[in-house]
């Protein structure tokens, strides 16, 4: 401790900027980690609370995916002796048309039984109408809204609000206002309750329910009741406690969580490089001090502990600041992640609060300190090994020794061979990831040597460009590879990470574009909802024939698509008129015979699956697919595998006749409309809207659907841009750090340059060129390693969540943009150090040793 105070503190005070940058590396890594986990937890907790508020006292919920089920199921549930109460529910998302209020989740419930499950805790209104549900039921336009929603919109009892229904805009009368808290607080108050049978009518459900909420009879274990209901209802139903929704939501967030995890890990690793760099430089610069200490009797352990102590202090400060920064960032990230709830409910999740879990604080602190200690370990060991006699002599310590270079080369060769072996044997994920880690290790081991080689290659060009400034900048890097190698390595890693994720995004984008081109070719789409991802709004089964009668329409293909559970995971089932589809869509299958698979599927003798479904669920051509339906277990052989991006978790395509038979439902939610040659889409659209006047029908042009899908796909790029931002931040941090040291090291050299006539701008140019050269070397290495990293990222994507074998497409435009940004950032990063270089006393600089 005394050494820390006597030696480290003065050094730290003298190099405040460098220490700030070192700490910034840890702040960034820990901050991202804390922010990401806190945001995820906050969103999941809010989602869980919302699910709990909606579910009330229900212990089990029965659903059949998004398809819903017939009313008769309710009787079968109520007949079960284990069930105390079973209440039907219809859930619909409706637009209020009130500006800025978004959608309302309408909960259609049976008032006669529901109050034993949910407490509406009315704020105002005639309590009698709920005490006597018949009064509420007798008025089908009755609506209860939450207090927060009512206050926001200045609504009172008997106020009327518009809602988009299956039959166009209808007005509803507010007959109750729920107190804030409980159900009334779900979705920030964007929730309303109405009678279930009225909901069936206004939202076009026919005689079907979306869900049944169950209260278990006293004394009966919930699991026993679940098993009894499963036996009674068969395989087509999902019977689970309300908390299971949270797990499904968590599964939906998994791709995003993984991406964030990888980003924060990369940030920490890169932070580690920045710390390593700072300590390596500190050890080099403090060799005389270490020599004196050793000469005075300090043991190797004491010297090592001195540097590790400094690392622990830097780690602690960085972690604490990182936790603070993470807490600030968490809310922003949580708002973004919260948007995912709209994919399930159509209503954006309001965040209650973003609390930082004490366990995350401890984990962040430990991780930050551990990272710092790990990064400082090698420099601390080097410091402990300093020979006191040599240390007191002047000389060069920045040069990589021939022995070290050879050792690195041999280690890199070994790691590369092992990595290749892992790739060859990489069926198991563990071996694959070990191979990936070894590939990264190879790149890191080779980075200093390759960086040196690249700098030597570009020196003549720099010298030609600026004879003094260019040559000096390149020489500075060549003479001190140790000073720049960590920055170059950090840049290389971060650029490679962006290339990896950017390449995946680009590949997905290309594949989606190709899929859109070949599959989404109808001229018009007729839907019951303007929101393309909504599956609960439907049109009657006669709508297809009605549209085909419209002048100018050649063919209408009715589609019923919705999510259902497959082995506990929600997947998309698309029921379509396959015979018609085969006439219009000619995409090359990934597996199976194109003609045969359409023929068998149209005949109801098979199903086609998407390659993502095949990859993620481990299902292949010829395997039997088991889908639970309200009529029992549907078993169909897989007759073809095709590319389909309709859903991230995979798609099963069946014929509409199979759906009608097994789901006992002839509704449709999308109708693909092909026009006769020469027909004007705008005119036909107007005709369709006229034919369906008074009904909730939306007609979209092909271009609008394409744009929507590409917009959703663009969300992938949002993450890439975040990572590019991190890469640039690293470029700035690392380069500022390196240049600060470089300028200190070269103080005398720069002084000489000024003494013999170098103008300030010429000195600035030297520093700028050095910075841009570091950036350039980092970019060259990063883009090269990025090519390999992209391969691993694509494979990781396939194995973990997309299930699709994406084409390898190097993201050229992104690489170009990244190169420009990093070089620009390098130049900006050099402005401060360049000014530092031209300020100060020339006399002191010339005397500086």
């Amino acid at each position: 401790m005394i050494l820390l105070r006597l030696l480290s503190w003065p050094y730290l005070r003298k190099h405040v900027l460098r220490w700030s940058l070192t700490v910034a590396g840890i702040v960034m890594g820990v901050g991202l980690l804390v922010a990401m986990h806190s945001a995820n937890q906050a969103v999941l907790a809010s989602f869980g609370t919302t699910v709990g508020r909606i579910a009330g006292a229900a212990e089990l919920q029965i659903s059949a995916g998004d398809f819903g089920f017939d009313e008769e199921v309710l009787e079968r549930v109520q007949a079960a002796p284990e069930v105390r109460v079973a209440v039907p529910v219809v859930e619909a998302v409706a637009d209020t048309g009130i500006k800025g209020q978004g959608n309302l989740l309408i909960l259609g419930v049976d008032m006669t039984g529901d109050r034993s499950l949910r407490d509406y805790d009315l704020e105002s209104g005639d309590q009698a109408i709920i005490d006597d549900p018949l009064v509420f039921l007798a008025q089908p336009d009755s609506l209860m809204v939450a207090k927060e929603f009512a206050e926001r919109n200045h609504l009172e009892i008997d106020s009327r609000i518009p809602l988009q229904t299956a039959h166009g805009t209808k007005y509803f009368t507010i007959r109750g206002i729920m107190r804030s808290g409980g159900l009334g607080k779900a979705f920030g108050g964007n929730l309303a309750v109405m009678d279930v049978y009225a909901a069936q009518k206004v939202f076009g459900r026919g005689r079907r329910f979306d869900r049944i909420d169950v209260g278990v009879k006293e004394g009966v274990p919930v699991e026993q009741c679940r098993a009894a209901l499963a036996r009674a209802l068969g395989p087509g139903f999902d019977i689970a406690p309300p908390s299971a929704s949270r797990e499904h939501f968590e599964a939906m967030l998994s791709a995003y969580s993984m991406s964030m995890n990888v980003s924060s890990m990369f940030a920490l690793i890169i932070g580690m490089f920045i710390i390593y760099n700072s300590f390596a430089i500190a050890v080099t610069q403090r060799r005389p001090e270490i020599g004196i200490l050793r000469a005075l009797g300090a043991t190797r352990a004491q010297v090592r502990m001195l540097f590790l102590g400094e690392a622990a202090v830097a780690g602690t400060i960085g972690s604490l600041l990182g936790i603070g920064a993470g807490a600030l960032m968490a809310r922003g990230i949580a708002m973004y992640v919260g948007g995912f709830t709209s994919q399930i409910y159509g209503v954006k999740q309001a965040l209650d609060e973003v609390a930082i879990d004490p366990r995350i604080i401890v984990a962040g602190l430990l991780l930050g300190i551990a990272t710092s200690l790990l990064a400082a370990w090698i420099p601390a060991r080097s410091a402990a090994r300093v020979d006191p006699v040599q240390a007191l002599q002047k000389g060069k310590y920045q040069v990589l020794s021939a022995g070290e270079g050879s050792l690195r080369r041999r280690a890199a060769a070994l790691a590369a061979i092992l990595s290749a072996v892992c790739l060859w044997l990489g069926r198991s994920n563990l071996v694959f990831y070990a191979g990936y880690a070894l590939a990264v290790l190879t790149a890191l081991l080779l980075a200093p040597m390759v960086a040196l080689w690249v700098t030597r290659m570009i020196r003549p060009a720099l010298r030609w460009l600026r004879p003094v400034e260019g040559a000096l900048a390149a020489d500075s890097l060549i003479q001190s590879p140790r000073r720049t190698s960590a920055t170059v390595s950090a840049l290389m890693l971060s650029i490679a990470m962006v290339v990896g994720f950017g390449g995946v995004s680009a590949s997905i984008y290309l594949s989606v574009t190709e899929w859109i081109e070949k599959t989404l070719n109808p001229d018009l789409y007729v839907e019951a909802s303007e929101w393309l991802a909504s599956y609960s709004w439907t049109l009657p089964g006669t709508a297809g024939a009605d549209i085909e009668r419209v002048e100018g329409v050649e063919q209408a293909q009715m589609v019923r698509s919705a999510r259902t559970l497959y082995h506990g995971v929600p997947v998309m089932v698309v029921a379509i008129e396959v015979a018609k589809l085969a006439q219009k869509v000619h995409s090359r299958p990934i597996a199976g015979d194109s003609r045969e698979m359409y023929k068998l599927t149209a005949a109801g003798q098979g199903a086609m699956i998407s390659d993502s479904f095949a990859g993620l669920r481990g299902v292949g051509l010829g395997d039997t697919l088991e889908l639970g339906t309200p009529s029992g277990m549907l078993r169909l052989p897989v007759v073809g595998i095709r590319r389909d991006f309709s859903d991230q978790q995979g798609t099963v395509l069946i014929d509409r006749s199979v759906y009608q038979r097994w789901w006992k439902d002839d509704r449709t939610n999308i109708i693909r409309v092909y026009l006769k040659p020469g027909a004007d889409p705008a005119v036909v659209k107007a005709r369709i809207l006229e034919r369906f006047a008074g009904q909730r029908v939306f007609v979209l042009f092909n271009k609008e659907v394409r744009q929507y899908i590409l917009r959703v796909t663009d969300q992938w790029f949002a993450m890439t841009y975040t990572q590019a931002g991190i890469a640039i931040l690293i470029a700035v941090l690392g380069i500022v750090n390196t240049l600060t040291v470089s300028i200190t090291d070269r103080r005398r050299e720069l002084g000489v340059l000024q003494a013999v006539g170098g103008l300030r701008r010429q000195i600035r140019h030297t520093v700028w060129i050095e910075a841009v050269t570091i950036g350039l070397v980092g970019v060259v290495l990063g883009l090269a390693f990025g090519a390999l990293n992209l391969y691993y990222t694509l494979e990781m994507t396939r194995r973990t969540f997309a299930g699709i074998a994406l084409d390898y497409t190097y993201p050229g435009p992104l690489a170009g943009l990244l190169a420009l940004l990093v070089l620009g950032a390098a130049l900006v990063a050099s402005l401060g150090p360049a000014e530092q270089a031209v300020r100060g006393s020339l006399v002191e600089a010339l005397e500086y040793e």
């Binding site: 004879p467 003094v468 040559a471 000096l472 020489d475 500075s476 060549i478 003479q479 005398r748 050299e749 002084g751 000489v752 340059l753 000024q754 003494a755 013999v756 006539g757 170098g758 103008l759 300030r760 701008r761 010429q762 031209v838 006393s841 020339l842 006399v843 010339l846």
Partner: protein, 224 residues
């Protein structure tokens, strides 16, 4: 050529150090002057002020009639670039550059054409008898050779003023004598005004004029 009027230099650190106090001095064109005195007497400070590497706390310095006080940093640099050549005790060569590149450095900084720079640098290295070491880096040279390169660099612009701070201080006696001979040679050939800060009596005696400094004052001004 060089005029100092009431020049003082005070270093404000934890305690105030007066390096030069109220100095008046005139050095004519083509003079060769040795500046001697004990350590801390202000010799190097005087050289730095004349060379425009530092600014006086008080008083005025004129080079060729131009007052340095009103010049900006870049103007001061231009003055150094065009009129002053420096030779340092520790050579201050750039270790990564070859002999040729080190000598060419001030010329590149002036933006001369490459061909002309190359010719001048080679000629100067021939002059200091290092024409056979053009591509060597400083670490491949002996101390005397390094100082020769430094002198060649200082002469690259044919400066009217040559300032040398202990040019032989880091060399053995024989090499020191050679360097001194070279400086005299340059003085004779180019007619430059030469100021040499030295502790070495031989060097001081070789110069026609010797200034002795003591505690920031001129204690003696001897002409031979």
């Amino acid at each position: 050529m060089i005029e100092l009027a009431g020049v003082s230099k005070v270093f404000d650190g934890k305690r105030k150090v007066v390096a030069l106090e109220n100095l008046d001095l005139v050095i004519g064109r083509g003079e060769m002057v040795a500046i001697v005195g004990p350590s801390g007497s202000g010799k190097s400070t005087l050289l730095n002020l004349i060379g425009g590497l530092d600014r006086p706390s008080q008083g005025e310095i004129r080079i060729d009639g131009s007052a340095l006080g009103g010049l900006s940093d870049d103007e001061l640099t231009r003055l150094r670039r065009d009129k002053i050549g420096f030779v340092f005790q520790f050579f201050n060569l750039l270790p990564t550059l070859s002999c040729l590149e080190n000598v060419a450095l001030p010329l590149h900084l002036r933006g001369w054409p490459r061909k002309k720079i190359d010719e001048r640098a080679r000629a100067l290295l021939d002059l200091v008898q290092l024409g056979n070491r053009l591509d060597h880096t400083p670490e491949e040279l002996s101390g005397g050779e390094r100082q020769r390169v430094a002198i060649a660099r200082a002469l690259s612009i044919y400066p009217p003023i040559l300032l040398a701070d202990e040019p032989t201080g880091n060399l053995d006696t024989r090499t020191g004598a050679e360097i001194l001979k070279l400086v005299h040679d340059v003085h004779d050939r180019l007619g430059a005004t030469v100021l040499i800060v030295t502790h070495d009596a031989t060097v001081a005696h070789s110069c026609p004029r010797t200034l002795t400094l003591c505690d920031g004052h001129i204690a003696g001004d001897e002409r031979r």
